[in-house]
């Protein structure tokens, strides 16, 4: 017995010593200093870029060799899905080891939290420094709204690279046959959904995201257009009459004229239903258009029309947001080299090239050029520009814990879709949301 206990103690001691030893030794990878060459001041530096799977990344990948040749900086790029990206960034940035230099961010989802955690390098100094950022870069070329999204507590957390707005995708052929025009008001939208809803023939009036958390962003346009808001004067106001009207509309559309199973639908499922010709309308982000227009993905690709989000009591106020930005990690050991990369990746030339493959940017000059418009059908571009003019810069509550907030708002939407007491759900979840704000303020 005694010998047994002694052995156990020995084992524990070794285990703890072992893990302590491992934590104590070893150093982090140092980036080799660049050779002093005024033309390529950062030559020889290796830079790690964490990107998300995105058409923007696909096109940029092809242009990286040019950048490497021009500057001598070696770019090590990894691209993964957005949720895994957040997870990976979280782990790496928490460790503070400086393993990430540049990364793609979702400002609306992460900026506040990442800023609070001190993970961003404030890019304001870089942007304003004439030496680091030559005038031809055009720092003022960006849309106001997207830049606003990227600014948290006065810090510029990233440079916007992709934007999107909410629009109505509709079946031109079905509308024509029923003598309908593209909906101009939310009431029109409901009427059209009702008229075209024909479950017996296998066609539903409308399809939208019905799963709580993902649906929040698409619901936001309804909210704004009816005069509601997520937060006003520092408090959540989702129990206001305008908000209740908006969420009831959203829920009723899906409840009465939507396909079964909406409760589990994120955009892929909703897009698939529309692309298979099983819904007359689909309201979602315009960046997703390829999923329903490409001939190998859709059976009704050539029949798709694009319309601006319809007007509510306050007008047509869909969201027009920065979905993705490019940031520099504060813990990166290659700040200046990282800025060189970022500057290049967001330059007018690169942005134009990427936009011409169908990725909407945030640069005014690029939108005004022919090159920048050629990727899309004309009606898509006009809807995008129109929406951009009036659009709201946020599609979700701007809090630190966006994930939790979205879950709570999602509960209200779910109540509306399932026909439960919306007023009660709004009150309960609104209180919980305000509770969240109070905790965050501490």
């Amino acid at each position: 017995m005694k010998r047994f206990q002694r052995t156990w103690a020995l084992i524990m001691l070794v285990a703890i010593l072992g893990s302590v030893a491992l934590t104590g030794c070893g150093g982090t990878k140092e980036a080799p200093k660049g050779t002093s060459n005024s033309d390529k001041p950062y030559a020889g530096t290796t830079m790690r870029f964490l990107a998300a799977n995105h058409p923007w990344t696909e096109t940029l990948k092809t242009m990286i060799p040019d950048f490497e040749a021009k500057t001598g900086i070696k770019v090590q790029m990894e691209s993964i899905t957005e949720n895994q990206l957040t997870q990976k960034l979280t782990v790496e940035l928490t460790s503070g080891a400086g393993t990430v230099d540049v990364f793609m961010q979702r400002p609306l989802q992460e900026a506040k939290l990442f800023d609070k955690n001190g993970w961003y390098t404030d890019l304001t100094t870089y942007m304003n420094d004439a030496k680091k950022t030559p005038a031809e870069y055009g720092a003022s070329d960006y849309f106001q709204g997207p830049m606003q999204t990227e600014t948290v507590n006065g810090h510029l957390t990233g440079v916007p690279i992709v934007t999107e707005q909410e629009i109505v995708y509709y079946r031109k052929d079905l509308f024509q046959a029923a003598n309908l025009k593209a909906p101009k008001t939310i009431a029109d939208l409901e009427a059209a959904a009702k008229k075209l809803n024909n479950p017996d023939k296998g066609i539903y009036g409308i399809v939208m995201r019905g799963k709580g958390n993902p649906a929040v962003t698409q619901f936001s346009s309804f909210l704004y257009s009816e005069g509601g808001n997520f937060i006003e004067n520092g408090k959540f106001v989702l129990d206001s009459p305008a908000a209740t009207k908006a969420v009831t509309e959203y829920g009723n559309l899906l409840k009465n004229y939507g396909p079964p199973g909406v409760l589990n639908m994120e955009w892929p499922q909703a897009a698939a239903i529309f692309a298979q010709g099983k819904a007359a309308m689909w309201v979602d982000a315009n960046s997703l258009y390829k999923n329903v227009t490409a001939p190998d993905k859709s059976t009704i690709g050539d029949k798709v029309g694009f319309a601006m989000f319809p007007a509510g009591d306050k007008g047509a106020l869909p969201y027009s947001v920065t979905s993705w930005g490019l940031s520099i990690a504060k813990s990166s050991k290659n700040q200046d080299a990282a800025w060189e990369f970022l500057k290049w990746a967001t330059s007018k030339e690169v942005t134009t090239k990427i936009q011409s493959t169908g990725v909407p940017s945030a640069r005014t000059s690029v939108w005004e050029s022919d090159e920048g418009k050629k990727a899309w059908p004309a009606d898509w571009v006009s809807v995008a520009l129109e929406s951009g003019k009036v659009g709201s810069p946020a599609d979700r509550p701007l809090v630190i814990n966006v994930g939790k907030a979205r879950d709570l708002v999602g509960n209200i939407i779910t109540a509306a879709i399932t026909g439960k007491d919306v007023v009660a759900a709004a009150k309960t979840n609104n209180d919980a949301l305000n509770q969240l704000l109070t905790e965050e303020a501490k």
Binding site: T86, T90, L93, N117, W119, P260, V262, I273, G410
Partner: protein, 292 residues
């Protein structure tokens, strides 16, 4: 000389490398998580973790109904899945316990479900469960049964996930039990036949009792994994709709990587660890008790 020494201390020489490895790899993470569970921390590099003692645990136990619901769902999922998988697994093993043409190929094919990458499987089932264009409802349609909502329904989500788990892991139980079946000595069977027992009696009184040890091992291994099921739930419903399929592991992941409440997540993980440990100890005791 060395040989004698090794033989004398065999029980340590043989086991210490494995045990040490485990302890070294695990000690740091567990201690780290235990420490973070006593703090409130959003993983910030700026704001240090705030020591709050057992507040996280109190919060979960006393003020968080979502925690208790997740615990209930974890047990419900595991219990149902284990029950169905064990019964079907043993049945499948008994079925396959004979020679037939092409048996190698067939037995290998049965391995497929558990061999496939869970994430990929999740995607396939996601498409199959889609109420409007999915294959599952197409089959129901052919059988003249009403279409279901499957994972889109708050009441059907968890059972649908159990279905996928059963589909995926029954073969594993069958495989382990089959290996045990084949290693059984033939004497008891011959004796029973001589005594005039019919096949059903042989099954119940001879076969099943003799494979109990192997079934026991299979059940414990599966129980641990079933409690921690993550990949298929994550890829199919992410815990929805409306938390209907949120188990403890998913909730822990959400708290940590979605809400960034590392203190709360760590405390939940510690509790979860204790729960799984408790279940394993219980099952192990039951297994031994049954054999003795």
């Amino acid at each position: 000389m060395l040989g004698r020494w090794v033989e004398k201390n065999l029980r340590w020489v043989f086991t210490l490398p494995a045990v040490l490895f485990i302890l070294v790899m695990m000690a740091f993470p567990i201690l780290y998580t235990a420490r973070v569970s006593l703090t409130e921390w959003s993983m910030s590099a700026v704001t240090p973790p705030k020591f709050v003692g057992l507040a996280n645990y109190a919060e979960l136990f006393l003020r968080d109904p979502r925690f208790w619901l997740a615990t209930w769902r974890t047990f419900y999922f595991t219990g149902l899945a284990l029950l169905v998988e064990t019964v079907l697994g043993v049945a499948l093993a008994l079925l396959l316990n004979r020679d037939f043409p092409g048996q190698n190929v067939v037995k290998t094919l049965f391995l497929l479900p558990m061999v496939a990458t869970p994430v990929a499987i999740g995607m396939v089932w996601l498409l199959m469960f889609e109420p409007t264009i999915g294959f599952a409802n197409y089959v129901l349609h052919l059988l003249h049964l009403p279409p279901q909502l499957w994972i889109a329904s708050q009441t059907q989500a968890l059972p649908s996930l159990v279905l996928v788990d059963v589909w995926q892991w029954t073969p594993m139980i069958a495989l382990i039990v089959l290996a045990g079946l084949v290693s059984l000595p033939s004497d008891p069977f011959e004796a029973a036949a001589v005594d005039g027992a019919n096949p059903l009696q042989i099954l119940w009184h001879v076969t099943l009792p003799m494979i109990r040890p192997t079934v026991g091992v299979a059940v414990i291994l599966r129980a641990i994994d079933a409690l921690k099921t993550f990949d298929i739930i994550y890829s199919m419903t992410q815990g929805g709709p409306n938390y209907a399929s949120e188990t403890l592991n998913i909730y822990g992941y959400t708290l940590g990587f979605s809400y960034f409440q590392m203190g709360a997540a760590s405390s939940l993980l510690m509790i979860f660890f204790a729960i799984v440990l408790g279940v394993v100890i219980f099952l192990n005791w039951a297994r031994r008790g049954v054999i003795a």
